[in-house]
């Protein structure tokens, strides 16, 4: 047993020396391979980070959102529905909400404006934790807004606290900045402006007995879907969106985009595997001679195969580590610059991402299986062809 272990250490030692001897060839293969892994890992990390960020952000979202639909389009919902909903057992509270888009002609950007009675929300107090500074407007406090970090920057407010919006009748309405959202939630709050319900009603000129949607909070989270079904039955012509459904939609969007991009990248990986095959199978005369010498000196075919295994494993493992490290740096420190246009495309103001990848062992294993295993598989047959070089060929130079 001891001899077996020593023998394998010796072969590993020889494989590492052999890799170092052909360092330029091996480093170039490793760099190209690391780039392919970097692309794959970046997508995987961005997707998981976005999904996690979305899931975190949705903890503050209502359990159920009710909207009125007409001819397949959303329209304002009467506040009278609020009373109907209160009759459903299990509903904790219903909070009316107004939201819409405000077009900023100067910056050619759409901001999402949200009018809320935050003090009515069960998690109202916790909402202030989502802010980097300031607070949400309280009851009867009009003319105050909370801005997304990107909106604050787009409006170039600096230290100024006052801003104005045009109403549809072209009258200016002024607001004071009461708070700014934390950058950690930027994926959902980048283009967001939150204000009091009545202020939003003024901005969009929505009648006093209507809002855009009703936010329903339930007592027991397990009952969200059941209560959702009850609401749909009670209020025909409405759209009922539950929080798990919204989270699932986010996951589907990110997964679809990531999957699409991954398929494109897999073709790059396949091209690399073909290149690796070509490289490994074209045995140079010096390599053929070296193997013949080793075999005549008493190395077995299996020993040569083990050398090739270690060489492929070390190259692919180093490429894997390098690729994943670069991907982490790219996602965390460079905000996934290369892929954000592909993965983030629903807002005019692109969020400035502060993504912290949620690295799971399963994700790393998946990238490992996508990259290292195909490379090793692509080099197995060339390695075997290399290992069966006849020992007596060393006799004839």
């Amino acid at each position: 047993m001891r001899q077996f272990i020593e023998k394998n250490f010796n072969i590993l030692d020889y494989a590492l020396t052999s890799l170092w001897r052909r360092k330029f060839k091996n480093i170039s293969v490793m760099v190209v391979f690391a780039l392919v892994i970097f692309l794959l890992a970046s997508f995987q990390m961005v997707t998981s980070a976005l999904t996690k960020t979305a899931a975190n952000s949705l903890t503050q979202a209502p359990d159920i959102t009710v909207q009125k639909m007409s001819a397949g389009r959303q329209e304002a919902i009467p506040l009278a529905y609020l009373e109907k909903l209160k009759g459903i057992f299990g509903i904790r509270t219903v909070v009316p909400r107004i939201w819409g888009y405000y077009f900023d002609e100067k910056n050619l950007a759409n901001y999402t404006v949200l009018g809320l009675e935050t003090w009515e929300m069960p998690t109202g107090n916790e909402l202030n934790l989502t802010l980097a500074e300031g607070r949400f407007p309280q009851k009867n406090e009009t003319g105050l807004v909370v801005l997304g970090h990107a909106v604050h920057q787009a409006l170039d407010l600096g230290d100024r606290k006052v801003l104005s919006f045009f109403r549809p009748d072209l009258e200016l309405q002024s607001f004071k900045v009461a708070g700014i959202f934390s950058q950690n939630l930027e994926i959902l709050t980048a283009d967001l402006i939150v204000m009091n319900l009545e202020d939003a009603r003024q901005i969009f000129t929505i009648p006093g007995d209507h809002v855009t949607d009703l936010c329903v909070y339930v007592g027991n989270p397990v009952e969200i879907n059941t209560i959702g079904k009850k609401i749909a039955a009670l209020l025909p012509g409405t759209r009922v969106l539950t929080r798990p459904q919204i989270l699932k939609t986010y996951q589907m969007i990110f997964s679809w985009r990531s999957g699409f991009a991954s398929v494109c990248l897999l073709s790059a990986l396949a091209a690399f595997a073909i290149l690796a095959w070509g490289k490994a199978s074209g045995l140079a005369p010096e390599e053929r001679r070296e193997i013949a010498i080793l075999k005549i000196l008493g190395w077995e075919t299996a020993d040569v195969l083990v050398i090739r295994f270690w060489e492929s494993f070390v190259v692919s493992l180093l490429a894997f580590i390098l690729g994943c490290t670069l991907a982490y740096i790219h996602v965390v420190f460079f905000e996934a610059t290369l892929f954000s246009p592909v993965l983030l495309g629903w807002s005019i103001i692109h969020p400035k991402l502060q993504l912290i990848p949620d690295i799971k062992f399963a994700d790393l294993l998946l990238i490992f299986c996508y990259s290292v295993l195909p490379y090793m598989a692509a080099t197995v047959i060339p390695a075997w062809r290399c290992a069966i070089v006849r020992a007596d060929s060393a006799m004839h130079n």
Binding site: Q3, N10, Y14, R21, L297, G298, N397
Partner: protein, 230 residues
């Protein structure tokens, strides 16, 4: 082992390459030969005479197609390739025509190559190699790449590599083909010294400097795949 112990025994050995194919070649035919321990034998013959094939069978590189070959007490004829390799690394040391060293490896790494598959730890490998480099006066070149040393030093490195396992049999295939007469004689002197220490040496050569050297105990002439023992 008694001094006249038969270390290499071939009985009616035939070697046919590509048997049953259009390009079938009979390289050796009905060769019988016995070589005692601690002798220095020269296989003499021109190119294509079958010397290298005979050396390959003695060196356990492949078994004969027909006949019986017993090398260092082990019959080869039906030995699987893996066991041939194991027997080769335990019993045979090779010295090749152009020494067949790996130019990018250091002298000491070249010498220790046969020890890697034996599971000899690095420290022990170096210790054994140093003993040989000192014996062959090449210790000052230990860490030089083999591609950067002189012809005479290369030849000593090749000898050291052949001796590192302490095998009972040393085989040399045209070892003086690329050496001048001074280095050739020096080489034969080293082999003579090794024979005196108990090694059995078989040299395949058609160089008169070798065939006529005083250290050669016996000449075996190989011609058209047959052996003529004078």
């Amino acid at each position: 082992m008694p001094k006249n112990y038969i270390l290499i025994e071939l009985d009616s050995v035939t070697k046919i390459y590509n048997q049953g194919k259009a390009n079938e070649v009979t390289a050796l035919f009905q060769v019988s030969l016995q070589i005692e321990q601690q002798t220095m034998v020269c296989l003499k013959g021109s190119s294509g005479s079958g010397k290298s094939t005979l050396l390959s069978i003695i060196g356990c590189i492949f078994p004969p197609t027909k006949g019986r070959a017993v090398i260092a007490g082990r019959p080869l004829s039906r030995l699987p390739d893996r066991f041939l390799t194991i027997h080769r690394r335990e019993c045979i040391g090779f010295i090749f025509q152009q020494f067949n060293l790996l130019p990018a490896l250091s002298v000491i790494d070249n010498i220790t190559l046969p020890l890697f598959p034996l599971g000899v730890p690095p420290g022990e490998r170096k210790k054994r190699a140093r003993r040989l480099t000192e014996m062959l006066s090449i210790s000052h070149r230990e860490n030089f790449p083999a591609g950067q040393i002189s012809g005479g030093e290369l030849q000593r490195v090749a000898i050291a590599r052949a001796l590192i396992n302490d095998p009972p049999i040393i085989l040399a295939d045209e070892p003086t083909a690329h050496l001048d007469s001074r280095l050739s004689l020096e080489f034969l002197d080293i082999l003579e010294h090794l024979r005196a220490t108990g090694k059995t040496i078989v040299i395949a050569s058609h160089d008169p400097l070798v065939t006529e050297h005083r250290s050669i105990n016996r000449i075996v002439e190989v011609k058209d795949g047959r052996v003529h023992v004078p």
